[in-house]
């Protein structure tokens, strides 16, 4: 954190940077108080209690290179081997250093053979004939001592090795370059490649591509997926947890690199997103922005995130999702998030079953899509709040600190709704049963409180600060409870 802060100061001395920094500091400050408001005991809540807690650091290219080199050196000194060999073993063995050392000590030859690093003796062959033999690739004749090769004994002239490396690097292959021998799988170590390849441009390209290959193969490292962002995330444990890049601000899941998706896991969210992409045509018709008021039938466009709607004409309170009376959405009876399956479905015809399957999918998709839209609208609300605060501060109606709670509320609302959105794919793929009932109960609880919070944030100026902060607390508690029970750790 301090490192990146320093970097930002160095690279961005403009005044807007200090502005955002101030905000960030205030944010931390507010969080500090916020975290403690409900706990009378002095202990701060333990980080490990937070189901979303994830330890990671942001590395620059040089830091990551250093980290990889340290791991390579550790293996080198432990097993007394060359750095390029150690690097290959680590890459092939997915950087499980301890495991590699153990296997090496158990059976050195087996490990080296299985990793395609060296060749078992019986396969060795020296194909050269005569005192001035021809290269098997270019057919040119050279003295015997000109020929070069790996442990497999396939010998070729330096010129052909050079060409081979050139074509492989041009195809983007680095750590996977193999010997030129027929059916030979032996990998070319870096030091051998550098001893042959003299073209400095290609050497550079190789080292860059190689570095990318190594990072991609390392389970605890990941390139930030943000556009034009070159930092590398280093996680303590390779888990499907949320990472926020401190440089480009993009957030993503560490394990799969796409948008963060708790409580849904990586495989399920991929399945869901593919399904949504495939079925988007059928789902398109529901994405209309307008609905009629269930009471007076005036056409209503949804302009903010909250699903608790109030008709501006007849003042009827209703739910945007189910168009039912909002009164029936009191937290005890909130069921709008629960899909009610036809209990007799197994006995129905294939056609009915197909229709039911589509209905079920649309139910979840509609809610997923709706929360995504609400998130966008609430982003606008946050901007409006920020500019309102600006005006107030300029007019000497309190200071930034006095109004900070509003921004915190909007930020928290965003966080809660985000999680809520990702509960729908999770529920869609859940098997029927007690656990799903519990999940849907907690989901409904979360949804009710998120809508309450949203309602209050949109009406921040007529809502009492204590009331709003209380609502924030409840919503975040609901979110934490759900994640604690359902986020796979």
């Amino acid at each position: 954190m301090s490192q990146t802060d320093m970097k930002r100061q160095l690279s961005d001395p403009a005044s807007d940077a200090t502005d955002s920094e101030d905000m960030e500091e205030d944010d931390e400050y507010a969080n500090y108080y916020y975290d403690n408001t409900d706990d009378l005991d002095i202990d701060k809540p333990k980080k490990t209690d937070d189901p979303e807690y994830f330890e990671y650091t942001i590395l620059q290219t040089e830091d990551a290179e250093r980290l990889l080199n340290e791991e390579v050196e550790r293996l080198c000194s432990e097993l007394k081997m060359s750095p390029s060999l150690a690097k290959m073993l680590l890459h092939v063995g997915q950087w499980q250093g301890e495991d590699i050392i153990e296997r090496y000590q158990q059976d050195q030859r087996k490990l080296l053979t299985e990793s395609n690093v060296s060749c078992p003796k019986e396969m060795k062959e020296d194909s050269l004939v005569g005192s001035s033999p021809g290269c098997p690739v270019c057919a040119e004749c050279y003295p015997r001592d000109k020929f070069m090769g790996l442990t497999c004994g396939h010998l070729f002239c330096p010129h052909c090795w050079d060409m081979h490396f050139r074509f492989q690097i041009e195809q983007g292959i680095t750590m996977g370059i193999e010997c030129m021998g027929q059916k030979c799988k032996i990998l070319v170590p870096e030091d051998f490649l550098y001893s042959v390849l003299k073209d400095s441009k290609l050497r550079d390209r190789f080292s860059k591509l190689c570095f990318m290959d190594l990072i991609k193969g390392h389970p605890k490292l990941r390139f930030c997926p943000g556009p034009n962002c070159s930092v590398i995330i280093h996680a303590k444990e390779p888990r499907a947890k949320k990472v926020e890049c401190s440089v480009c601000k993009s957030t993503f899941c560490f394990r799969c690199g796409i948008e963060y998706h708790a409580p849904t896991d990586c495989d399920v969210i991929k399945k869901w997103l593919t399904k949504c992409a495939d079925d988007s045509e059928t789902a398109n018709y529901i994405s209309a922005h307008t609905k009629d008021c269930p009471s007076c039938h005036v056409c209503i466009e949804k302009s903010a995130g909250c699903n608790h709607m109030q008709c501006s004409k007849c003042k009827f309170d209703f739910c945007w999702m189910c168009l039912g009376d909002w009164k029936s959405h009191g937290s005890e009876y909130y069921e709008c998030s629960r899909y009610k399956e036809n209990p007799n479905i197994a006995n129905e015809s294939v056609l009915v079953q197909a229709r039911e399957a589509l209905k079920k999918y649309l139910f979840y998709f509609e809610r997923w899509e709706n929360h995504a839209k609400s998130l966008q609208l609430e982003e606008q609300t946050l901007q409006k709040i920020t500019s309102r605060i600006n005006v107030k501060v300029m007019e000497n109606e309190g200071t930034w600190i006095d109004w900070q709670y509003l921004q915190n509320a909007a930020a928290l609302l965003k966080k809660c709704r985000y999680t809520l959105q990702y509960t729908y794919p999770y529920a869609y793929y859940m098997d029927k049963g007690g656990r799903k009932q519990l999940f849907e109960y907690q989901q409904a609880q979360l949804e009710a409180e998120v809508e309450n919070l949203s309602w209050k944030v949109e009406r921040a100026e007529i809502t009492h600060r204590g009331d709003l902060e209380n609502q924030m607390d409840i919503a975040e508690k609901r979110r934490q409870t759900l994640l604690k029970d359902f986020l796979e750790v």
Binding site: P136, V137, C138, A139, E140, M163, M180, Q182, K183, C184
Partner: protein, 199 residues
């Protein structure tokens, strides 16, 4: 670069010409032009297969980056085989793609193709229709491959039943090759083949 390619092909010519397989007339390579970029290969159908006794012509194109990249090879002679397209002659063989190694030669390619004729891999097909027939109606596949060998590759064995069926479709007014493809694709069922020709 092109120098290496040409030098290699020159030497490989000697290799193929010298080899025992040529002595037994199993494989052969000849030049199409003088620049060593375009060659014509020929392999004999291996014994104990439906391709036995047939001579299969191959088009071999040598890329400039040869031998660091594989030669481009396809069948000129029409052939009924799961890993070779019955329409274009394109070949699905690992050593002609990512398993190519610079030390491989035209001789190894031709011998590998001969081995492919002897041992098809229907689970990694180039021609899905042939592969399905191979897996589901092996006997029909064998006779179809034999029929194609005798028709296009001068194979010695005739299948009178299949020849007659082709003739009867021709007599119905369909073009010969279209008739053969239709029958081969429809397990030699005359009615279905006729419908296939009309659709």
């Amino acid at each position: 670069m092109a120098n290496i390619a040409e030098q290699r092909i020159r030497r490989e010519f000697k290799e193929v010409v010298k080899s025992d397989e040529v002595a037994a007339c199993n494989i052969r390579v000849e030049l199409v032009n003088d620049t060593y970029t375009h060659l014509r290969g020929e392999i004999m159908g291996p014994p104990d297969t439906p391709y036995e006794g047939g001579r299969f012509q191959l088009e071999i194109k040598i890329p400039e980056t040869y031998p660091f990249n594989p030669p481009l090879v396809k069948f000129l002679t029409k052939i009924w085989h799961p890993n070779i397209s019955s329409v274009t002659g394109a070949i699905c063989l690992d050593i002609l793609k990512d398993q190519w190694a610079a030390a491989m030669t035209l001789r190894t390619v031709l011998l590998s193709l001969q081995a492919l004729l002897a041992a098809a891999e229907p689970d990694d097909p180039q021609d899905a229709v042939v592969a399905q027939q191979y897996k589901e109606h092996y006997e029909i596949f064998r006779r179809t491959a034999l029929h194609w060998t005798s028709t296009f590759a001068n194979g010695p064995k005739k299948d009178k039943d299949y020849d007659d069926k082709v003739t009867s479709l021709i007599n119905m007014g369909f073009e010969e090759h279209k008739a053969r493809v239709a029958l081969s694709t429809n397990q030699w069922d005359l009615t279905r083949a006729a419908e296939y020709c009309l659709s």
